[in-house]
């Protein structure tokens, strides 16, 4: 009798909220399957049962509720003061630490991205490498964007006049549906680089890389609540977030046109800053658009006066 093959340990994928890994408060899950374009190749290997989408079952993911979304906003708001108040240098080091942690778990993410997006191992490897490099890119931006986007203004009077970019606050990010990992990193990293905190809604069909990213963030010195990751039905989770009065901005990248329009209407209720969906090439140079999309400009005036006989400054 041959040795029994060792049974591997499955992972229970959980949400990432406030630095913790809760299940959905609703107790609901949904089945996540291998991307169809990979299904043919996968059929050659050992087969698991088929999931609801017809592809091979990969795991159950939490099906987040409106309450999960609201809890995530509370966590993000709570984290905002500390994160936005941290020095830009500190935020840069934390983002770089994310890249370091991802590098160490590269193999896991290559597997997950290959499964999620139907890519070959080398294709998935390129995606993960690009995602790691994206964290490095934004890590370097944290203490530079202030000089690019702000500065002293030469007003016509005896005043020091200084404009400084500041984070908008709590940003809801609907991560891209197709690019489940590089796209996700590309929308989260710029938002938090400038001091915002984020509630991210993962790709609906392929949430597993996003949920695993939560585990990386939790071990990367990113304070709990700075990034919160939800999986589930994008439309269901996005609706309460778009209407939420304590959310300052919403990135609609992962919303289809009709849903995006509806969410933009809801977002107008408290005048959220809205980034509309647009054609994206996640492998292209990201530029600074997504850094500046969730910044406010604060302009401070102070008299300079002149030192008169009295020595008074103004």
């Amino acid at each position: 009798m041959s040795e029994p093959t060792r049974l591997s340990v499955f992972k229970t994928y959980k949400l990432y909220v406030g630095g913790r890994f809760p299940r959905s408060e609703s107790g609901r899950v949904y089945e996540v399957t291998r991307a169809t374009s990979a299904a043919g190749a996968a059929a050659k290997g050992k087969s698991r049962s088929k999931g609801e989408g017809g592809g091979e079952w990969l795991a159950n993911a939490p099906l987040s509720s409106r309450k999960d979304a609201r809890d995530a906003v509370v966590a993000a708001r709570k984290a905002f003061g500390g994160w936005s108040g941290a020095t830009a240098y500190n935020r840069g080091q934390v983002l770089y630490r994310v890249a370091e942690m991802l590098q160490g778990r590269r193999e896991q993410f290559v597997r997950e991205v290959a499964d999620a997006e139907g890519l070959s191992r080398s294709g998935a490897g390129a995606v993960v490498d690009a995602a790691i490099d994206r964290w490095v890119w934004y890590a370097g931006w944290t203490d530079k964007i202030g000089q690019i986007a702000g500065g002293a203004n030469p007003v016509a009077g005896p005043y020091l006049n200084l404009s400084t970019p500041e984070p908008t606050g709590v940003v809801t990010v609907l991560a891209p549906q197709e690019s489940s990992f590089l796209g996700l990193v590309s929308v989260i990293a710029p938002a938090i680089a400038t001091g915002n905190t984020v509630v991210a809604v993962a790709s609906e069909r392929a949430p597993l890389p996003a949920l695993s990213l939560g585990e990386v963030l939790a071990t990367s010195d990113v304070p709990g609540g700075v990034v919160n990751i939800l999986s589930g039905r994008t439309a269901e989770i996005a609706a309460p977030l778009a209407a939420h009065q304590d959310v300052n901005a919403i990135d609609l990248t992962g919303a289809a046109a009709q849903l995006a329009a509806e969410l933009e209407v809801a977002a107008a209720d408290n005048l959220k800053r809205v980034l509309r969906p647009r054609a994206e090439d996640w492998t292209a140079d990201p530029g600074t658009d997504r850094l500046t999309a969730f910044l406010e400009t604060k302009t401070v005036w102070h008299p300079t006066g002149s030192l008169g006989a009295s020595g008074s400054a103004y």
Binding site: I148, A149, N153, P154, V155, A156, G157, Y159, N161, S163, T168, N248, A257, A260, A261, E262, E264, V265, A267, A268, D269, N270, L271, R273, V274, R276, D289, E296, T297, K298, T299, V300, W301, H302, P303, Y314
Partner: protein
């Protein structure tokens, strides 16, 4: 003080001459370089709020007129946007110069149509209008250096809706950056203050601006709504109330229209116990009584550190008692007329709410003219954060006074608002200025000064005070495809 002594110090009337401006009995819409009647022939009257005199009758734009204006702007766009930036710049420099030359005429006109004191139109509005055109003229051929890529492109036709509180200045804030970046515009002035925009149309003609680049369509809210909703408008810029701003945000949702909103405010003016109180008093007065308080960034909430509350309030009331309210054309007038009967009713109702909710009302002792729309400088003490007059924008000469004990409390109270447009800080301690300025969620923070404006200085709000910035390099972004 006896009556004799008082009258000895009264000012003799010093009215600015009205003859410098020639207001026609009627005006048309300015579309495609020509003044025309509204398609349906409708008109409305514009009155001087200080006398209720009818100044002129103005064509009232409807949806058909808006469509015609957008069409004209669209046709003009191809040529205008293709001009070298240096040529667009020269048109804007011309406009700036003509405004400087005609600035007294415009100041008197604005004072007549708006009701604000000539001292303000002459010394603040008009110089800033000219400066704004001069500033953005210089950007037109330097856009590749502005940080928006090597060759940033204009958006197309900009639909712009502006308020009545700074009619010509808001026009300048809208039109100057739009034209500098190569857009063409359709601008709707407010229904109570259409005249300076129509005079500006004449400036455009004198400057030789190509037809259709600037179109002026006076009208009411329906005209603004038609402009915002027009499918061939690429950019919407609005300055006005937060309620209308939200409606506009809903209207453009799901379109490609770029939107910037400059909306309401409830600015906190924070006075610490070490502040230079005499200067603070001047800043507080300028902060809330400039332009009769009809300013989105007004310092309408005074937050005073408890220990100096009584001293500051005494000084403030003394100062307010010396303000001169009356004929806006008089060069000695501090407080002019409220812009409209409707606005006066709104201010009156909110002040009554303040009393009804238990705040203590004090009104400066001054006689109000019998004709026109007037509201005496008023302040409320014993105001709490729950009071309506501490939460809602009054947009009038009404100051709500609250107190605090610690800097943290001051910041928390200042930020306890749906708005986030402006704030003021008065203290002699530099590190406190910087610490408090850093924590205030407001787009413009004035420290040891208030209500200062400059074309080089970005202006705009946090939270429900809107989004986007006007002024400075930042102001270009609103009109570029970036």
């Amino acid at each position: 003080m006896t009556m004799d002594k008082l009258s000895a110090f009264e000012y003799a009337p010093a009215p600015e001459s009205r003859s410098v401006v020639d207001i026609a009995p009627s005006y048309g819409l300015f579309i495609d370089g020509e003044f025309t009647d509204a398609a349906d022939g409708r008109v409305f009257k514009t009155v001087s709020p200080s006398t209720e005199e009818v100044l002129s009758e103005v064509a009232r734009a409807g949806a058909e007129d808006i469509d015609r204006a957008v069409g004209a702007a669209r046709r003009a766009f191809a040529t205008w946007s293709a001009l070298p930036g240096s040529e667009r710049a020269k048109y804007l420099f011309r406009i700036a110069r003509i405004i400087q030359e005609r600035s007294r005429e415009f100041a008197v006109l604005e004072t007549l149509d708006n009701g604000k004191p000539i001292r303000e139109t002459r010394d603040a509005d008009l110089p800033l209008v000219a400066a704004h055109f001069f500033y953005y003229a210089g950007w037109a051929d330097k856009l590749g250096h502005a940080g928006y890529g090597p060759d940033p492109r204009p958006l197309g036709v900009a639909g712009q809706v502006i308020p009545w509180n700074f009619p010509l200045l808001m026009l300048a804030w809208k039109i100057a950056p739009a034209l500098a970046t190569g857009n063409t515009v359709v601008l709707k002035p407010a229904e109570t203050t259409p005249l300076s925009a129509l005079f500006f149309a004449d400036v455009c003609r004198r400057a030789g601006l190509p037809k259709g680049v600037v179109n002026i369509v006076p009208g009411y809210g329906d005209a603004g709504a038609a402009l915002v909703a027009h499918p061939d408008v690429n950019k919407v810029a609005f300055t006005g109330s937060t309620a209308v701003g939200k409606a506009i945000a809903r209207e453009v949702a799901g379109t490609d229209k770029k939107l910037t909103l400059e909306l309401g405010g409830k600015g906190a003016n924070i006075v610490f116990d070490d502040a230079p109180l005499d200067q603070a008093v001047e800043g507080i007065v300028g902060g809330i009584f400039f332009n009769q308080g009809q300013v989105c960034c007004a310092g309408s909430r005074l937050l005073v550190q408890e220990s100096v509350h009584d001293e500051l309030l005494d000084a403030l009331k003394r100062r307010l008692s010396t303000l001169r309210l009356g004929d806006p054309l008089d060069k000695n007038t501090d407080i002019g007329a409220i812009n409209s009967a409707e606005q006066l009713a709104r201010i009156t109702a909110l002040a009554e709410t303040g009393e009804a909710e238990g705040a203590e009302r004090w009104t400066a002792p001054c006689a109000l003219p019998s004709a026109g729309y007037w509201f005496a400088p008023t302040l409320f003490t014993h105001v709490t954060q729950a009071h309506t007059i501490a939460r809602e924008e009054i947009f009038g000469p009404v100051l709500s006074v609250l107190t605090f004990r610690t800097p943290d409390e001051a910041v928390a109270k200042a930020n306890n608002s749906q708005y986030g447009l402006s704030a003021g800080i008065w203290t002699e301690k530099g590190s406190r200025i910087l610490a408090v300025a850093g924590k205030l969620r407001a787009g413009v923070v004035w420290a040891n000064t208030f209500n200062k404006f400059d074309p080089a200085s970005p202006f705009g709000g946090y939270k429900e005070s809107g989004f986007g910035r006007e002024g400075g390099r930042h102001g270009l972004e609103a009109y570029l495809d970036v």
